[in-house]
């Protein structure tokens, strides 16, 4: 017998997480399918579950001078409609799943799922995303890049919950997101690419580049980005192949049912070329 907990508020939820060994369910759009049962009329969860989707505290978006805070259970569709949210993230979510999934699927869920093909992750890495994690006795903040440790491996204790997605405010000259899938929407990525940059007086003052579904986690290299920062826009055109060669060793995709490693690698590097050739400002 699998128990279902529906907490009244966030504190109650953290209490349940502290006292019970439960699986966390937000929108359910992925976890219900992972736990689909073909022999029972019940969802095939293997342990007790706590349902968090309707917790008011997790359904708010707000901002202060430095950050935008997105509750972990805000639906993906609501994030698209919220102009406070950076355009790059809204462009990314627009290509995720379908309207029906986006009405219930959450950003917290996409992060907690930690799939290398998770569409939001590649742009969240570019946006220097942080998370607020709460347990009954503690609140901590962690960079997303440190939170995701491998394929479906996350830095989250059994009694902890992702409560907020925190995005530092940043101004970009332009941002760029490309997802490569079998069709435009309602498809899992073969690979994805996200980039953003800022130009001041014809010099690149900030550039961020991330690749999805080409390694165990999202690929982003601050070391390479620092080599590009300070270069003049007009010099980039002559350096495209050199910059691509810096990234080439980091792109280590696999063969699976969605694509193969040769295709993924070639297209990932082509998207990088396209991004670099179209820098403007």
């Amino acid at each position: 017998m699998v128990n279902a907990f529906v907490p009244k508020n966030l504190n109650h939820c953290l209490e349940i997480l502290n006292d019970q060994n439960v699986r966390i369910v937000a929108g359910g759009t992925d976890i219900l399918i992972q736990n689909r049962s073909h022999t029972s009329m019940l969802i095939g969860f293997k342990s007790d579950v706590v349902y968090i989707a309707n917790l008011e505290e997790l359904n708010k978006i707000y901002e202060d001078d430095e950050f935008i805070y997105i509750g972990s259970c805000v639906s993906l569709e609501k994030i698209i409609e919220e102009t406070k949210v950076p355009k790059l993230l809204r462009d990314t979510i627009l290509e995720m799943a379908s309207p029906a999934i986006r009405h219930t699927g959450t950003l917290g869920g996409n992060i907690g799922n930690a799939s290398p093909a998770g569409d939001s992750l590649v742009s969240l890495y570019v946006l220097d995303c942080e998370l607020e994690i709460k347990s009954y006795n503690n609140t901590r903040r962690v960079m997303l890049i440190d939170f995701i440790q491998g394929v479906r491996k996350i830095n989250l204790e059994r009694n902890e919950l992702i409560t907020k997605i925190i995005l530092p405010k940043a101004e970009f000259t332009n941002s760029y997101f490309k997802k490569v899938g079998p069709r435009l929407t309602d498809a899992i990525s073969k690979l994805s690419f996200s980039g953003a940059y800022k130009v001041n007086k014809k010099v690149i003052t900030d550039i961020r580049i991330a690749f999805g579904a080409v390694s165990k986690t999202i690929v982003r290299s601050k070391e390479i980005e620092n080599r590009i920062i300070g270069l003049k826009i007009k010099d980039i055109a002559g350096m495209v192949n050199e910059i691509v060669s810096w990234y080439e060793p980091l792109i280590k995709p696999i063969d699976d049912q969605r694509s193969n490693k040769e295709y993924r690698k070639e297209v990932a590097l082509n998207l990088l070329r396209d991004f670099l050739r179209n820098l403007e400002g």
Binding site: A4, S98, P99
Partner: protein
């Protein structure tokens, strides 16, 4: 087992149930609402689509626990509205129905789209229907049906 209450097709329902159930099974087995259908069972096809607080969701990947306090409308409930009549007539006129299996989901998707965006472009219609598969592949006629409904239902959305 837990006591649960939500609004179903305009009426508050209250009953005892295990909360670890899919909304789709509750609708079909407990309430005999067989308009929402199980196609793929994994959120890809939209045959199970219903409106939750007037937005399309897949009932095959919505747990009953998440429905507490919400308003659910199935095609059966939507069928009593003026908007439904406009959409139904548009599907009939353009030939947007072939075998009919996807049709309840397509109509729910149309309502969800027009409710938010009464004058969608063809591209926006395609995005609005992107989570609904038609095995007869009558997509062009279905897109035409949505355009026709938006035109004929002027003022209703």
């Amino acid at each position: 087992m837990a006591k649960i209450s939500f609004v179903l097709n305009g009426k508050t329902v209250e009953f005892e149930s295990d909360l670890n159930r899919r909304l789709l099974d509750v609708l079909r087995d407990d309430f005999n609402l067989t308009g929402p259908k199980e196609g793929c069972g994994e959120g890809e096809c939209g045959a199970c689509a219903v409106l939750m607080n007037h937005e399309i969701v897949n009932s095959c990947c919505t747990p009953l626990a998440n429905v507490i306090g919400k308003s659910i409308t199935t095609i059966e409930g939507f069928a009593s509205t003026k908007r439904y009549v406009v959409i139904k007539d548009a599907f009939a006129k353009t030939g947007g129905v072939q075998c009919g299996f996807c049709t309840p989901g397509m109509i729910i998707a149309t309502e969800s789209l027009l409710n938010k965006n009464p004058h969608p472009t063809e591209y926006e219609i395609k995005i609005g229907l992107s989570g609904n598969l038609c095995r007869c592949t009558g997509y062009n006629l279905i897109v035409e049906a949505v355009k026709e409904a938006a035109k004929n239902g002027e003022g209703l959305w």
